[in-house]
């Protein structure tokens, strides 16, 4: 039997659903992602969302939340809430405040520690996220380069959900974002933790883009298209 046999794939699942019965499976290893749990011979769902499957054997539940569960490798938008001698304390909407070591910057030494006031917005990478520990962040990519990480100046940070953030980052690109991008010039940074930052030369553009994206979350694909057309007309 093939691993993708679960009839729930790409369907909505709720906690308690049994998606696979291991006893029916031939000897095969499964990789379970977030929201799934093995209970004896069955694989159970722990949170509501869409069940996703990736060949050959990965299963996970994708859901949209306001809060973010940190996981290593994610790119997030964080807000500095305090400065300690060793770490910046950064809010990433997770269950615990994340630590950004003061030396985790490209070429960071004791001598050139950046000065961040409270409320500074940062684009950072989650380096480690273990239970029972505060997640650790970094402003460098894996090669120790600054890449795109660091301070985001000006612009405005909008709150969204993790689902919307994922949609914005997905390919093919989010239709609203793509449509707006063709008409207007603006910068956008999306954190997978349900935050996105927009900057443009005009405040009105920022507001328009931000609100359009926020609004698009509750619309279906067709509605999004209609909404986008209307919006683009109103700009002209």
């Amino acid at each position: 039997m093939e691993a993708s046999s679960s009839k729930f794939v790409d369907q909505l699942v709720v906690p308690g659903d049994v998606i696979l019965d291991l006893s029916n499976l031939s000897n095969q290893t499964l990789k379970l992602g977030g929201g799934l749990r093995q209970d004896g011979d069955s694989i159970c769902v722990m949170k509501a969302g869409k069940l996703r499957f990736m060949k050959p054997n990965k299963y996970w539940v994708e859901s949209s939340q306001k809060r973010y569960v940190p996981s290593a490798g994610d790119n997030v938008l964080g807000v500095v809430v305090d400065t300690k001698p060793e770490n910046f304390l950064v809010d990433i909407k997770g269950p615990a405040i994340a630590f950004l070591p003061v030396l985790s910057f490209e070429g960071g030494t004791r001598r050139n520690i950046p000065k961040f006031e409270v409320g500074t917005l940062l684009y950072v990478r989650v380096v480690s996220a273990n239970t029972g520990m505060n997640p650790e962040l970094s402003c460098m990519d894996a090669n120790g380069k600054a890449a795109e990480y660091g301070i985001l100046k000006d612009g405005y940070m909008f709150e969204s959900s993790t689902g919307l953030s994922r949609a914005l980052l997905s390919s093919p690109p989010h239709p609203v974002l793509e449509g707006l991008g063709k008409k207007l010039s603006f910068e956008i940074a999306v954190g997978i933790n349900g935050r996105f930052w927009v900057n443009a030369s005009q405040s009105s553009t920022v507001i328009l883009v931000g609100n359009a994206i926020q609004k698009s979350e509750s619309l279906s694909m067709v509605q999004q298209k209609i909404y986008l057309e209307k919006l683009l007309k109103s700009i002209q």
Binding site: D91, G119, Y156, S203
Partner: protein, 306 residues
């Protein structure tokens, strides 16, 4: 410490700067102009005297109840009137359970001052037996969701609930005039309160170094603003209460400008409340007629009183 940091809400530097800069070009983050009010929705509960107000993302529930009590000794023929506020911790992570915080008390005082000290509700008509029994009206304001500008929402909610509240009719009988009969609502139609005028609160925020004025600030704007001004006024052009509790200073001319803008907004809001109340009342009387249809005699009474 960390606990507090996690619960409190930090406004980013970007947001602070952006809100200020956008205001210079006359636009706000939610797309409003500085003097646009957010969308106001007034709903009523199934019972008389309860209302639910939604102002943008702010939600407030008001519930009015009446009770017969002994009057205060210095005011023997006036009913009493009290406002209680409840800031549910569910509305905002910064609201703590237990004792009401400073902002809860301030909100209660502003609404109280606007409604009570301007004598919006006729308390003398609430007297049943002078010196012995009066109606005590209590308004409970529950903040359900904090999206900014709680004062205005609470005030509107209180007004809406007061205008739909009805108390059972009481008559005094007996030889000595001391015997009290409370008529059940299905015998005699309960009486609404006498409301002289509608004191509507309108709040302004002052943002940035130049103290740019915005009406009806959102939660984000509240976190950024240097001061606020709440003006309570009615459609007759009377100022009923003002609260500007410290914060950034503004010129007197700005205050007067705010008053004039507020009086226009108060007119809009009053008519919105009145329309909502009216449609509630029509629905209510329709419901009454339906309910009492089987027995024709009672329905006559109800019609007579309605």
């Amino acid at each position: 410490m960390e606990q507090r940091l996690a619960n409190s809400f930090t406004v980013t530097v970007n947001e602070t700067k952006f809100i200020e800069n956008a205001l210079i070009s006359d636009i706000r983050v939610d797309g409003r102009r500085p003097f646009d009010y957010r969308n106001l929705i007034i709903r009523f509960g199934s019972e008389d005297g309860s209302s639910e107000v939604q102002l943008g993302r702010t939600q407030v529930i008001a519930f009015v109840t009446g009770q017969l009590v002994q009057p205060y000794r210095d005011r023997p023929n006036e009913g009493t009137f009290a406002i209680y506020t409840e800031f549910s911790p569910m509305a905002d992570p910064s609201f703590e359970p237990g004792r009401p915080g400073d902002s809860a008390i301030e909100l209660g005082r502003i609404v109280d001052r606007g409604l009570r000290e301007s004598r919006a509700v006729d308390t003398e008509s609430l007297c049943v037996i002078a010196g012995k029994l009066v109606w005590s009206i209590r308004i409970d304001l529950h903040i359900i969701d904090n999206g900014g500008n709680l004062v205005d929402a609470a005030n509107i909610s209180a007004l809406a609930a007061l205008s739909t509240f009805r108390r059972p009719e009481c008559t005094v009988e007996g030889e000595d005039g001391q015997e009290l009969i409370i008529h059940p609502p299905d015998v005699r139609e309960p009486l609404p309160l006498i409301i002289h005028h509608f004191p509507v609160a309108v709040t302004f925020g002052f943002i940035g170094k130049e103290n740019i004025v915005v009406i009806d600030p959102t939660h984000h704007e509240e976190a950024v603003m240097g001061g606020s001004l709440t003006v309570t006024l009615n459609t007759n052009g009377d100022v009923c209460a003002i609260q500007k509790a410290g914060g950034d200073g503004v010129l007197q001319s700005v205050i007067m400008q705010c008053l004039r803008i507020a009086s226009v907004k108060a007119g809009d809001i009053t008519s919105k409340i009145k329309n909502a109340v009216e449609s509630y009342n029509t629905q209510r009387s329709l419901r009454k007629i339906k309910r009492h249809n089987p027995s024709s005699t009672v329905s006559n009474v109800a019609k007579h009183h309605a």
